[in-house]
Point group: D2
């Protein structure tokens, strides 16, 4: 492919961790050329001032956000902005013919009332939003292929839904018993100077946060309800782990049929994810370590049935910034463009 045949891509909100992942992934993608990096507070800076290790690669400055300018240069735009901003910018970009992949929460909800209730922001872009597709390829591959606007999933929902979907879709569990105990590295908190994310505070410690009220709850519930074709509520508890990257969701649910054994479920999961190149269902007795997924777009899934209690425990490990964010967005773009789903995406962790 010559340079001139490459798809031109812009990243708005390039200074955060989502942005720098996209730059790394898209720089190594054979069919893409990054032509625009945009930001607000960092506009005018050299990108290498923010990330000196990229100085030899990225010569771009961060530019101010001018939607018409972006649309004139970019066929595809990734938005990596705080919640509540993408919904201001997206209508104009779509109107101008761009494909838009939004990393924020703005286009994840089919019911904007749910969004407004949890994110405390009113919305007036309902027509546009109704065309958005939830960017989890393992569930919505076909819709993604035909969409111009993707609401990319949150990191916790990605890990949790990969674990839950086969159970719910196949009706194997009692949905009201779902408990998701999730653990994330601190990069999930973004590149901002918060006291609780300092190494001095977060290292060698561990705690829950947002108990019973984290905003990823309604997102998980929406997709579970869609799969179950009925209203599902989940218990979701996130924890901050003293590590940089990685999410593990440990999911508990009561089986409808207490006679199922671990191997049955491994078979069911393997079938469910047969066409999903990034999901790896582990053999019996092997439980995923987040490190296995680090630096890749993979999701590793381990399954155990506890015959003593009648429950299934499913563990799902991803890299929160790749499969949980930027990598998944590129996976969606690959589908939107008709490319191989795994084109240009990392599939092999370095270890240890």
């Amino acid at each position: 492919m010559t340079e001139s045949q490459k798809v031109t891509v812009g990243i708005v909100g390039a200074s955060g961790y989502g942005g720098v992942q996209l730059i790394k992934l898209l720089s190594e993608h054979p069919a893409i050329e990054i032509v625009y990096l945009g930001g607000d507070s960092s506009a005018g800076k050299e990108y290498a001032d923010l990330y000196p290790h990229l100085g030899h690669l990225i010569k771009n400055k961060i530019e101010a956000i001018d939607l018409d300018e972006i649309a004139s240069r970019c066929q595809v735009v990734f938005l990596g902005l705080p919640n509540g901003l993408a919904c201001k910018f997206t209508p104009r970009l779509i109107e101008k013919g761009c494909k838009v992949l939004d990393l924020s929460a703005d286009y994840r909800f089919t019911n904007l009332d749910t969004y407004s209730a949890w994110y405390k922001t009113e919305r007036d872009d309902g027509a546009i939003a109704s065309n958005a597709v939830y960017g989890l390829p393992e569930l919505y591959r076909d819709q993604i292929k035909n969409s111009a606007l993707i609401g990319c999933p949150g990191c916790y929902p990605t890990a949790s839904l990969l674990a839950l979907s086969p159970l719910i879709k196949q009706g194997l569990i009692l949905p009201e018993t779902i408990i998701i105990d999730a653990k994330s590295g601190t990069s999930g908190g973004g590149r901002q100077g918060k006291i609780n994310l300092l190494l001095a505070e977060a290292d060698n410690s561990l705690g829950a946060y947002g108990v019973a009220k984290h905003r990823h709850t309604p997102e998980i519930e929406q997709i579970c309800s869609d799969l179950a074709r009925s209203d599902v509520k989940v218990q979701f508890t996130p924890h901050l782990i003293p590590m940089v990257r990685g999410i593990l969701s440990t999911v508990y649910a009561t089986l409808r049929d207490p006679g199922l054994v671990t191997e049955d479920l491994i078979t069911i999961y393997s079938a469910f994810y047969r066409s999903s190149p990034f999901v790896k269902v582990l053999p019996s007795g092997i439980y995923p370590q987040t490190k296995w997924a680090c630096g890749t777009n993979l999701g590793y899934i381990g399954i155990e049935v506890d015959s003593r209690t009648g429950r299934v425990i499913v563990m799902s490990a991803i890299d929160n910034l790749i499969k949980g964010q930027a990598g998944q967005a590129v996976q969606c773009l690959n589908l939107m463009m008709g490319w191989a789903e795994d084109l240009g995406l990392p599939k092999l962790a370095f270890y240890p």
Copy 2:
């Protein structure tokens, strides 16, 4: 107190993490004199060869394990040995008049069949074992005071039972809904050269282990059943966290009365632990960080009721090597000797 009035104490199995905690705590205890350090593979070594930072304090050699010799010198013996050894040594020590505090699993079970089933070891010391008391002072304070043999709790059971006991004792939850998602630093794995505990492997990673089959499960169930006066089964999942010390147990259960709110439970917990100097019930909206407990004998408890789901979520944080092991043993000894329960024990973390 003059030196001659101090209680003489021996530590068998002094070379492990439990041993070195005991040495630190007992060295700073005003009423105790360490007179014997014993070990098997390390017998004959200077203690400072194992832990050079203690070279200026501990001049003792590690001695071979000679029960009569130990009994002749020690009023109190701590046993910090692998499972299955304490039950060989304890009968003789008790017979000779020693008070024994065992850090292993050997004397935690009232039903030795349970022990044998989970630990794969037959037992012939039933008479002695039947006099052992489970060394969790917050539940069994009075029995501990009058016992000569303490089976000190495991680290996970300590954290989990501090979270669960008020709920079960007061009949507030449906016991069959109990799920314990526990997270521990790697020091819980002991001072042994296991690959999975290497920094290169365990750092920046996270995973579950022993899913549906960890040996702390029957220990937790025994105490829960005792409190509930009926047979209780729990779902218990431990995780290895990239940090040195600390356990967080996140406990889930469905409330019998969905009208209870967080503040109700904080009141109930505060009353339950009113006489327990080491348990700190946190205000509404504050969730414990393991670091707060590190280096102390404290347990911090945070509580949240989720009215959407009818569940209570209780988080309990301890230092796995202190309140979860050596400190709790000293707390028990304080009770056995009629001393203040908190004598000589650390009550204040350094932070960060």
Copy 3:
């Protein structure tokens, strides 16, 4: 000692890491009562809002900084403020009869021109400053006993000077060959939301900073010059290490007498620090780990002579927030009050 006999102490700048160390250490000190916690941006807040784990212990609010009010209530004042503020507050406190221990750089320099050159702040309190004593008890014990104003050393200078002092004082090395390669945990950067101190950035990474221009350079040089009775310049390079606490200074210098061996220097160091309860000189072949000093006021020193190169390498490990900051300040106060030098200070790390 009854409460009424305790010395009343105030802490100005209580919200930072220095402040919270002081609160921990002074709360456990048998002869001290904390009667005032002051701050600027945090005035009016409950202390437990900043550090919830202290909620059961510290009921004080943080008060505004009113010097007359402070002087009326406190016999002793610790100042834990950014550089350039202590020199505004100290004259009034001294005048009112308070003893002052300043944790900032303001009173570390005998020549205020040096201070002004490196800290870019003019000074007009020369008379007061000339009475300040550099608060490194191992070198200036007698002066500290008779002083009312202590300029407490920086963390790097403490570690580095403990390593260097015997060499320089005894004339054993060529001073122009001194190189100090120092490594610190990130808590040295304080409790402020800086990007480079985030766990996501600083963990699993390592780098130098302030190369050839760190402000602790002139402080080290001043004391070295005082010991050498001639002008000494040092090469000082600090590095940020992915850990919370601890400093290791690795010091290199060329020996005047290439015939000296490691054991000779261990003898010299041991004699030099014979009356210093917190300095532990390690046996030959043992090098200090920062963890050994963590949570204590200890400094561990390891020494190696390289006969191939004619150099001595000295490694010095301390806890940057205790011996490197708050603990050393309390050690100074003990001397100022005529108490035992180690009264109330931690002397034993928990490990691991």
Copy 4:
């Protein structure tokens, strides 16, 4: 390139960290096919039993080490064995026509007496050894191209020599003043269950080891002497850092010409490494973080001249397992095969 055109490669000692890096790198290399994985203690095991995250990719078993069998299947053999074994296996492999890249110390020394003195192993393969080339492409690119046997450099020497070579080659420093203060993540200690490498021991701590006697000293000195055309001795001190991967070498030396400034040296370094695609010389004032190099074959170099002391300080950061080991070996292979030097090698860290 069709599969049949790929170069067949075997890895002996595939179970360690060097082995698993090679598997990752060679799996992603477009011109290579892995056809043999060999080991001793792990022979007969599935590779995925050692590294479950590779189960979906690597279906090979680890085979016993049979040199004729290896030579019959492999055009190229990587040896990742403990020191002292490669020199037993290599002569036969070379004789059979294999190209050999040895990751151990066996073929790094031009003078086998030096090897025997430091590694306590006699050698009888002097003829073979005299044909080995030291596998640092930035210095010995042309010799590597024409060699069949590469002694791949140690991790510390790689980082240190990248920092030192321009200074020595150009005669800019006094060689007797060279001090190398090096810091490494714990993966450098290999995948073996050593107590001091446990997370519980190594995390949140820091210390030097092998002071004045580490085996990488003579290796560094050999290359420095070769560059200087005279005998050079260096002071080398390694430290263990609480992180998984990465080495930083901080190098000190006195400049011959005290008038040189930082920018002069940046110019000299940039010219020196002009044809080296993996070495990145940083702009003035920017110092390398090891994380920038993690997961890549890059070396980042930062330079500062201290006009106060007349010294230059050079900091060099690499990934110890890639540029410091397996990646560099592949870089050598690329040269040996006449491929692009950077073929198939990672050039971009994910961050953070």
